[in-house]
Symmetry: C2
Subunit: 584 residues, 2 copies
């Protein structure tokens, strides 16, 4: 089969203004960026206010292998399948970070015949939104270090007198705002900034710091959760970047930098319209991490798509314990709109990996043995799929399992998996369909599309696991115990202390974002399948007052990936005609 | 008078595809980015190959005060003035860095009625070129630290066996590639990266590092000097990022990252078309520093503009000892095209500042006294202007002095300055004109436009001060002694050693880029006017093999600015309609 970029380049695409017009986006709402991508103005929502919303389909997955189970392929394929059966449809996906594109994972445009096109535009820069997030984030960091430096250099009173600004008296040992970069750059995880030569302090005050990848910026979560520009501006101003010497929060508003940050991001709030290889309109917007943030594309993009189509297909990061949970408990509560149907993507290899009998290493070839028929491993791994279906049921959302087929999969095992699903009783409508979206595009997802349409006939009965007015502990317990099925949560002494402080400072009414490994339902990446009777240890609580959640660090969460020995960037180049080669 | 952004917003602009068409850029050469900016494909040059080139006007200045003398206002104003007198004209300017926009200086779109519009687009993100430079630059840095880490972790032989790549054996103490960020961020000047907790080395190898502002990246110089995409790709591969344990250069090509860097920058090579407030087509492209790099907009933009118009007006950074010198000795030699006319911008306040009788602090209001008539100060300061006129004469380029008028300027002093110029004998055609471009737009630059047209009637006799085949010492001496009029150069022991190494490694045929203060013709910012009998101390020589020059550090050169106590970003915000306010 051809490479993703070859398939993409051979496809005749439709001018984006045509795609927009056919989708109901008028010229006044569109800012084309070249002929194949365009910014869509959120103001379109005012014009569409009286239009009813379509159905929201949220694609999730079993507990994934590090290589992923093909969730984006299925999202794009399903959207194409729905178009094939004459439904009006949008796909909404996240903007890929350049870190993984250059690192291990490669692009995030889907693949095969189910891609967003042109994939090289999607994977590189797109319309600059991640760059805007990076710039706004680092402006606040520069503002903070500059303020720290000038207040220290002049003294608090002299600073105040000289500038007519209050001295913020930032505690250099209590700064929560790091810097960000959209690369996998291990060496920037732990750094010391503000170093000086020979006793001078012209470069600022020396302190420990670090970079996260831009997708981990609170601004990325804000971009995904804001309902309009004014809301984004307000949220940015609420970001707590540090604490002062009295332990009180210091915000970007206190630094007088919130306005400039919002200015830096004022085009980023417009989703980018592209198309799939089969011309389905696709909105790309925001790309928050699915651990320390909620891992879903934006509320604004969803809202636009829901107004313009009968079906909006979107996806949450990792398995249903991660992006899907956060879509339901964080995003849906802020958007006041839950999903109508969950599509759980499963693969034979992924289920067998969840049997615990196989091991995966990112960047390494799969063991061939995993494609050999192994009925016992599949049955054991099915417990993981059953868990994820039941997880969706907890939120009142009907489920369609999409078996993402690989060329090596045997008919016998595909049939076995289908039967395992159909033989199980669930508390909710559950259906299953094979998906050949990778190799056949929308034609490979027609069965899936019909199953989704059918599932959506049941009126949705969505409910989140907690409401925002519950206490922080109650919300933590709701996700861990009801959501994951854990025995209990265990707060570290640090987390206990932070909990008290958050309450005292009035940050009780925020959502909870669990930052844990995606490779297990538990917080231990080595525990596969559908574990029970486990504890969720909460090491630290971190405030994202602008995004509207507190994230709970459970186990090690990497917010700045590293490059492997032989990164994906080594394959990239320009050919003699100036075309990009080696992108997958 | 209204603020810059108010004037800009009140002006009715022409759709950019209309501007393009009127300027001779066809739809196939244009990629609109919204309705007011568009990328122009360098492939247009193939179509225009047989068209004759127009005249190249290079705007420079006297030794500037830290606030600048209005060079961009004059550049845009002159372009508008030429259009008023029915000449076909393009302006070519650099893309502003966001650092100064948020820091002290504010925007760089010109000002008053001589601006590039929309100024908020120009000053923020534009079409993402600086972000692309930043991303490509930092990808190389991440690649370097990752290679260093993996080779160290596995051992050279095991690394080579595992990856099938040669071990590069990078000398951790001899790394020349820093990281970059497009902000004024003092705290990042000197940092330590790759730090680890408690004896582990999972975050890489600890070493000293630092960030420059993105405009100081060698990639920015490459973007400005490349003649096409293939040339850019080749230049990127030549960048020396470090030396190995034998002291041999390690390039981005050695890291297998040059291709991915070029891919990251493959849209950045297309200049961005905008318009002035009076509809003059303006190409914005690249923004290299004018000390450690050559400080001029791109060769590609100039080439396109020269083919499409009778007059191309561009500018070099700082005074004629800086951007103009580098335009003539670096850019013109690589482009094989020198300027036809130099416009030297002078202000009364700037000349008086050069008298040494006044002091300027950036960010501080000007002393009112500098606008009081002071014939003696003006006469003393005139020596600086005389120096800059004579400097242009050394390159065989005729000169028009543009007196950039401020509202407070008295007629008497303006007349005195004109007379001082007209009474002096020069070796070249010299003329003078008042410019009211700031307050009157093109109408305020008609006298200047006529003077420029007249100056261009003399056939150009351009010659650089050195040729690339001379030795590095000869080239250094040419700039210092012939160019600046210095007594001699003095190489530090370090520079002497580096000189020997550069020669041994075959880097002799590169241009020389003097990295010195812009605030004096000498290397000492406190020496004003037109000094003679001084020495140019060369502290260090740095190789930019991709850009094609060696830069000579003479005195302290700041490659990462800091934020002041009350930065410009504090004024920026969005109003209730989502419009940007507070940008100047």
């Amino acid at each position: 089969m051809k490479s993703d970029i070859e398939i993409c380049r051979e496809t005749r695409l439709t001018p984006i203004d045509r795609i927009a017009l056919d989708a109901g986006i008028e010229a006044q709402d569109l800012t084309p960026q070249g002929s194949l991508k365009a910014k869509v103005k959120p103001a379109i929502l005012k014009r569409l206010i009286n239009k009813p919303e379509g159905k929201l389909i949220l694609v999730t997955a079993i507990t994934p292998t590090p290589l992923g189970e093909g969730k984006t392929v299925t999202t794009i394929g399903l959207a194409q399948g729905l178009a094939k059966i004459k439904r009006s449809v949008f796909a909404c996906i996240r903007q890929p970070s350049m870190g993984p594109v250059f690192g291990i994972k490669g692009g995030a445009a889907g693949g095969g015949y189910s891609q967003v096109a042109p994939m090289e535009k999607l994977n590189l820069h797109l319309t600059g939104d991640i760059h805007a997030v990076t710039a706004a984030h680092n402006l606040a960091a520069a503002a903070l270090d500059a303020r720290l430096y000038h207040e220290s250099r002049l003294g608090y009173d002299a600073f105040a007198a000289h500038t007519d600004l209050p001295a913020l008296r930032i505690d250099i040992n209590n700064i929560s705002w790091k810097r960000v970069m959209d690369h996998n750059d291990r060496a920037l995880r732990m750094i010391t900034v503000g170093q000086n030569e020979s006793g001078k302090t012209i470069n600022g005050l020396e302190r420990h710091d670090g970079f996260d990848i831009s997708a981990a910026s609170e601004l990325m979560a804000i971009l995904a959760l804001a309902t309009d520009l004014a809301d984004m501006r307000q949220r940015i101003g609420k970001i707590v970047v540090a604490y002062n010497l009295d332990g009180d929060p210091v915000t970007t508003e206190d630094l007088n930098v919130a306005g400039a940050m919002a200015v830096t991001m004022c085009e980023a709030i417009e989703p980018t319209l592209m198309q799939t290889l089969e011309g389905v309109p696709t909105l790309i917007h925001a790309g928050p991490f699915a651990n320390i943030a909620h891992g879903n594309s934006s509320i604004i993009a969803d809202k636009i798509a829901l107004k313009l189509s009968d079906f909006t297909v979107t996806e949450g990061g990792f398995g249903s314990d991660m992006g899907f949970e956060k879509a339901c408990n964080i995003k849906a509560q802020q958007a006041q709109r839950g999903p109508d149907c969950a599509v759980v993507v499963a693969t034979l290899r992924g289920l067998k990996a969840n049997s615990g009998l196989y091991d995966f290493q990112p960047g390494q070839p799969l063991p061939d043995s995993i494609f050999e028929p192994d009925s016992a491993a599949l049955s054991a791994g099915f417990e993981n799929l059953r868990w994820h279906i039941n997880n969706a049921a907890k939120y009142g959302v009907p489920v369609v399992v999409a078996i993402n087929r690989f060329p090596q999969d045997t008919k016998q095992e595909l049939e076995q998996l289908k039967q395992l699903i159909l033989d199980t009783t669930f508390d909710i409508h559950v259906d299953v369909a094979l998906s050949d979206a990778f190799s056949k595009g929308g034609d490979g997802a027609i069965e899936l599309a019909h199953a989704v349409v059918n599932a959506c006939k049941t009126p949705a009965n969505f409910k989140p696991l907690y409401t925002l007015d519950q206490t922080i502990e109650e919300k933590l317990m709701a996700v861990a115990e009801i959501g994951y099925g854990a025995k209990n949560i265990e707060l570290s002494p640090l987390a206990t202390q932070q909990l008290a402080q958050l309450k005292a400072q009035g940050f009780n009414n925020l959502a909870i974002c669990m930052a844990k490994t995606p490779l297990s339902i538990t917080t231990d990446p080595h525990i596969k399948g559908a574990p029970t009777n486990f504890t969720v240890p909460v090491r630290e609580l971190k405030l994202c007052a602008g995004a509207g959640f507190i994230y709970a660090l459970c186990g090690n969460v990497m917010t700045m990936p590293g490059l492997p020995e032989k990164p994906a960037f080594m394959n990239l180049d320009l050919d003699e005609n100036g075309n990009i080669i080696g992108l997958s």
